[in-house]
Symmetry: C2
Subunit: 513 residues, 2 copies
């Protein structure tokens, strides 16, 4: 057995059975091992940022790390932006990155690069394997790291000679994964005291605390104490729709965020952090809560929020409380596309148990309000702000959640970053409906430019406008084997959505706005 | 004046008048400054690897650094692969990368990342500006670094507050750029002794030594001494065709490289390095020259090869020597596309003074042999082996060399990495003819897989085959505003090339092989 085979055996033995891949020459022995040893589903992405974004979407739906197979140096670099998003989502994955043979590296061949240096900024764990006989051991540690609550990016760098040299001991056994830590009893007591004794308390949910079960506990506490509950602004996965809490998020725009948080003199963090701006702006605060707010940590992001919220609810003697009824599903929107109308159309037509991958950027900031009455669904955000997340995320989510319709609400400018992911949807026949919000500009940036205090002139618009020529998303999708159609009305969107939801495989709707 | 304005004044004052851009929120004050201060041509790319690849192509044609405008962290990360190629091409550019405001960074907002860490592996010079009053000074040093022979990647990281804060002193004056170093007289004497006294000497040209002028000097020396001349395998820019030397390159495949270098017991390096493999392979040497070869350094990559080769030729008393006549232009190829036939078609039809951007990968390894008799042209290689270089490189070359036809010989798998660059060609109406070599597989990797000793099975082919579904490059190009057509014969290629060369603007030919 060679090192590459010991790697595949170790991954499979630890339950890693899906590999998102874009291999290169230095990874051929790994590819050959995947070919020889049955059990790994290999999914090709035509650029590495598609590959890493798929692994993120897969983890968000399964809670289980996938492997990625990436080419040395620049191959990994191409996938960093979605690794950044995955890191912010606290997703787990095991990146298997090839590299120059240990003895070849000092010669500084053209494709030699600082693979480990590229990996560091996005990984919770990085190791370069030094010999074939250590591949299995290091791979087992990588999987353990990736599975450590709530999930980590583990990057295992494999010089090509450690893959082709002999590894007679074969695969290594899976290592135990530590349980998510429990909350500090003192933190529970402090939170209970605040909830009992104070007004204007906010419970801020993030990460693992956005499941239906955690929401139910937070709601029970809120109903018993008069506290309010919000979610962080961008989240890995929120369980939403009927049977879930009508949870709103801290808004993105600074002024709205400050306004939303102004009432709260106490904020209890449940797997979340105290809200800060996505960016700084001149003469605006970076922290969006009141300066005098008391920030209490109930649970850090890696902790088990169910245990902590259960203990807190019990400590408060909070009785069971049903979620508010969001009312019946709306009618689909009509006429010219608006954010509200698109959200209503979605809520009206979305199949049960759908998954929404949301990279709608500026257009979609208000979608939550109009989709509480949709059937139960999961909503995935772009967690790290690195655009180009939506298409790969939707693709990986569809692989991680077979049988569920995935709806990708996708801004056009961001969609262009990783449009190659559509091809993987076609190859794998994935039930993904992509709605391209085609405004033909970087609308968020035009808004930001106005914030600078001026209207963009010709030079600025050359960098902010995506027209001239207009992108034709129908042709782009068709060019990658995905059926598509264009519409400029919500009726058209509704028709195309229904058609897509009834069919197998991917479909793209270019919605002109 | 604010820091961003002082930056624009400094860049313009130092002759940097072209900016390849994909801005984000943290760069809005820079965008606004570019809008207010006339003189900078701003060219948008729809993903950052397009932006950095364009800056590389621009430098290769102009010898002058462009600026890039990149978004913080992941924005820069998206452009790293083509920065790697640019670093290997030794191209100069000034990356202006936004970042979180200095006081916002410690809050670790979602889009906060290790921008400086990402930059290090690809940059010769990196600095994060600390205050607005230092922007101009640091920018002047960045341009100086970028212009230092032969060219360097300089990355200037600009926290957003250094852009919006006041910088009352305005722009800084351009700093002097040191001249390229001259060769060590001892190195010239050693080379002359070897050329006079030994047989089987190879003169290996790289980098700055691939101009017509340097070739003429090397040829003069070779004719006088019986030495042979080769170019390195992948080069920033080679002046080729009629009136230039019939220069061949060290081959890519290990066995062919070893064979080609076997005769030479002395290798004189002129702005080149001793040949090593792109990758290591089991039981094959990493260095491709003879173990007993004597390696003599005439000039390092940053030195002036004209001065050194002139001195060497004079020392040898080598008389002027005309290049061999490559013969008349061939007829265009006929029938099913072959590498030879495509090269002949190109040589037959290429307009005078064209630029070839070559990312043909495995298909194009023999193109040189059949294009010596083409009209004078420049040939640009993928220097760092990071695929996704060709389309951006061609785009930037067209901007750097107005009035010249650019021909991008482009493998399909690599082309998919940065297909977004076609949109910039359409927007800027650039005279770029893209020939997609559409074999619908990662052919180079299938070759490498065979090298591992087996035929790829189903799982491997899932990662090496680009069919199912086939990419439709005509639709992809049309979707970005570029006219396109498909053909599966060389006659078809010839017709489409002629049509494209006679028209303005970009055109894409999907050549099925």
């Amino acid at each position: 057995m060679n090192g590459a085979e010991s790697l595949v055996h170790t991954l499979l033995g630890a339950g890693v059975d899906t590999c998102f891949a874009n291999p290169g020459t230095s990874e051929m022995h790994f590819v050959a091992a995947l070919d020889r040893i049955p059990g790994m589903r290999c999914v090709l992405g035509l650029q590495e940022n598609v590959v890493t974004g798929m692994a993120d979407g897969y983890f968000r739906m399964t809670g289980k790390p996938a492997a990625t197979l990436l080419h040395c140096g620049p191959g990994l670099a191409n996938g960093l932006a979605n690794l950044h998003n995955a890191r912010r989502a606290r997703s787990g994955m095991v990146n298997c990155v090839g590299d120059q043979a240990t003895y070849h590296r000092p010669l500084d061949a053209q494709l030699t690069a600082d693979t480990e240096g590229f990996a560091r900024g996005v990984s919770g764990w990085v190791r370069t394997v030094e010999k074939a006989t250590e591949v299995a051991r290091d791979a087992a540690v990588a999987v353990q790291a990736a599975r450590t609550s709530p999930g980590q990016i583990a990057t295992l760098i494999l010089p090509s000679d450690v893959c082709w040299d002999e590894a007679p001991d074969g695969g290594a056994a899976a290592l135990p994964v530590p349980a998510a830590p429990q909350a500090d009893p003192l933190a529970i007591r402090n939170a209970a005291d605040a909830l009992r004794g104070r007004k204007n308390v906010l419970i801020l949910l993030g990460g693992l605390a956005l499941t239906q079960q955690a929401q139910a506990l937070a709601w029970r506490i809120a109903q018993a104490t008069g506290a309010h509950v919000l979610a962080e602004m961008s989240n890995s996965r929120v369980e939403r729709g009927q049977g879930r809490m009508q949870l709103e998020r801290v808004p993105y725009p600074v002024d709205l965020a400050i306004e939303a948080l102004k009432p709260y003199t106490t904020i209890i963090l449940v797997n979340s952090k105290a809200p800060v701006g996505f960016f700084a702006y001149p003469n605006k605060p970076s922290r969006h809560h009141r300066e005098d707010a008391d920030i209490l940590l109930l649970t850090r992001y890696e902790a088990d929020p169910i245990q902590a919220l259960t203990a807190l609810a019990d400590e408060l003697g909070a009785p069971a409380a049903a979620f508010l009824d969001p009312g019946p599903r709306p009618q689909p929107g009509r006429g010219t596309p608006t954010p509200e109308g698109l959200a209503q159309t979605l809520a009206a037509l979305m199949p049960d148990n759908a998954v929404v991958a949301d990279e709608s950027v500026s257009f979609g900031r208000g979608f939550y309000k109009f989709t509480h009455n949709a059937p139960a669904h999961d909503w995935l955000h772009i967690t790290g702000g690195a655009i180009g997340c939506g298409i790969p995320l939707a693709t990986g989510a569809a692989i991680g959640a077979p049988g569920r319709r995935v709806i990708n609400l996708q801004a056009d400018g961001s969609g262009m970053y990783t449009l190659q992911g559509l091809w993987t949807q076609a190859r794998e026949r994935l039930p993904v409906t992509t709605v391209i919000i085609s405004n033909r500009k970087y609308q968020i940036l035009i808004g930001e430019y106005h914030g600078v205090g001026a209207n963009p002139g010709r030079t600025a618009m050359d960098m902010l406008d995506l027209g001239n020529p207009n992108l034709d998303w129908v042709k782009l999708a068709n060019g990658m084997g995905v059926e598509a159609a264009r519409t400029n009305t919500l009726e058209g969107v509704a028709d195309l959505m229904q058609q897509s939801f009834a069919a197998d495989g991917p479909f793209l709707i270019e919605m002109e706005v």
